[in-house]
Subunit: 133 residues, 4 copies
């Protein structure tokens, strides 16, 4: 792992009924679901499942900030663009963006810090996983 940012990872998130609210756009909290799905694909769902089942170790969100520039609507197929970097032994930073079809800038962007917790919520060093190499 170098100090440099990862390449951009792309993840498709189709906007279904469940994602929208009565105002006609995606409910603001639901972008965090799209972003987490992308992170789970990046880290590896099997890797995460094995960490959890074998050692009760998992990642947890420690801090995040989001900006909303446009609202995605039902039927949009969003391009979730993610880069990340290991900031320290105990912190990985993810930069997520949700792009609408034909968008000229990100509809929603997010910076999110992840930590690693063991049993009893004990802070652990970030494990040496493939997505960080």
């Amino acid at each position: 792992m170098t100090e440099t940012r990862s390449k951009t990872h792309h993840f498709d998130a189709q906007v279904y009924y469940e994602d929208t609210d009565h105002s006609g756009v995606v409910y603001h909290a639901n972008y965090l679901k799209f972003f987490e799905r992308a992170r789970e694909e990046i880290i590896g769902v099997d890797t995460l499942a094995a960490m959890w089942h074998d050692r009760q170790v998992g990642f947890a969100v420690y801090k995040l900030s989001m900006n909303y520039n446009d609202g995605a609507v039902f039927g949009d197929r969003l391009d979730i663009r993610t880069t990340w970097e290991k900031e320290s032994d105990y912190r990985v930073i993810f930069f997520h963006e949700a792009w609408r079809p034909a968008g000229t800038r990100a509809a929603v962007s997010c910076r999110l810090e992840l930590v690693c917790l063991g049993p009893d919520k004990k802070l652990l060093p970030i494990p040496d996983l493939a997505f960080l190499s």
Copy 2:
């Protein structure tokens, strides 16, 4: 516990943005959340938490059916009306209804069977809890 049905329990569920979808009404799956909140209040949240933390025992939905007659909208304060009965040593049946303000019949109704599961998903007899007495 007799064979007779319980009295009707009332639980208020305010319809917030999170509950609706872009068609303007409550998303169909979300009535199950309202109904489960009512069940948890009936059984007792502290009771459920203690069962789970002490013995890894919990209730699980085994079967359900629902009818949708009307769609609740943002701003509705729903009256969730619930009755229940113990059907056998291993089964409790809940009958839920969601009533809109000024409704003349239930907007949504649900019949739902609950079982009790222990560690490793082993079927257990329904415990002798206060809501069944």
Copy 3:
């Protein structure tokens, strides 16, 4: 459209953190989200979006029943198997199943009736769409 049941449609649903609850399995209401995603792919998201935006016409769930035989866990990649048939001019029936990896029967199964509603929630005949031909 004949009276016969459709062929089986397959849709993958990855179980993410958002789908599970503290008991370790998928929250019971969330299977309805997986099943709706499958229906939207079957009917066509673009078709649904156009119906809604052009004429405020959409499908609504009228009735459903579900059986839970096993609980899917974080990391499962579910195979959502769906068949459907037009029951009458005003009703389409969907039969959904969620299969866990290596499952020998459906973890969850669902029978669901869909109707078509226009502005002011007026019941409309099921439109003559490609998925019914």
Copy 4:
């Protein structure tokens, strides 16, 4: 409306099954639901519903940041503490905190900027509502 911060508003949020994930704590995105419920009670659900139905005007989240210090668990009754201030003609800032029972600091805190949007997502001045007086 003065420049000063509002008094603290309290809102109870019971943690139900639906709010948790398989790691045993509240899913990180769901605190935004608790916070929005509190905002809707502060602004007034009826006020929001009338604005929307009469004039297609609503509030939208423009920006937010969150810090997670502790994870709430099933059975917790959270005290959602909120203060707010009108920052400019076009912006209201909310400061939310989720307190666990017997907590000595906020489990989760959030700063969130709200704007007001009319039809076609046009930015409007913040209306002169009771919660700002």
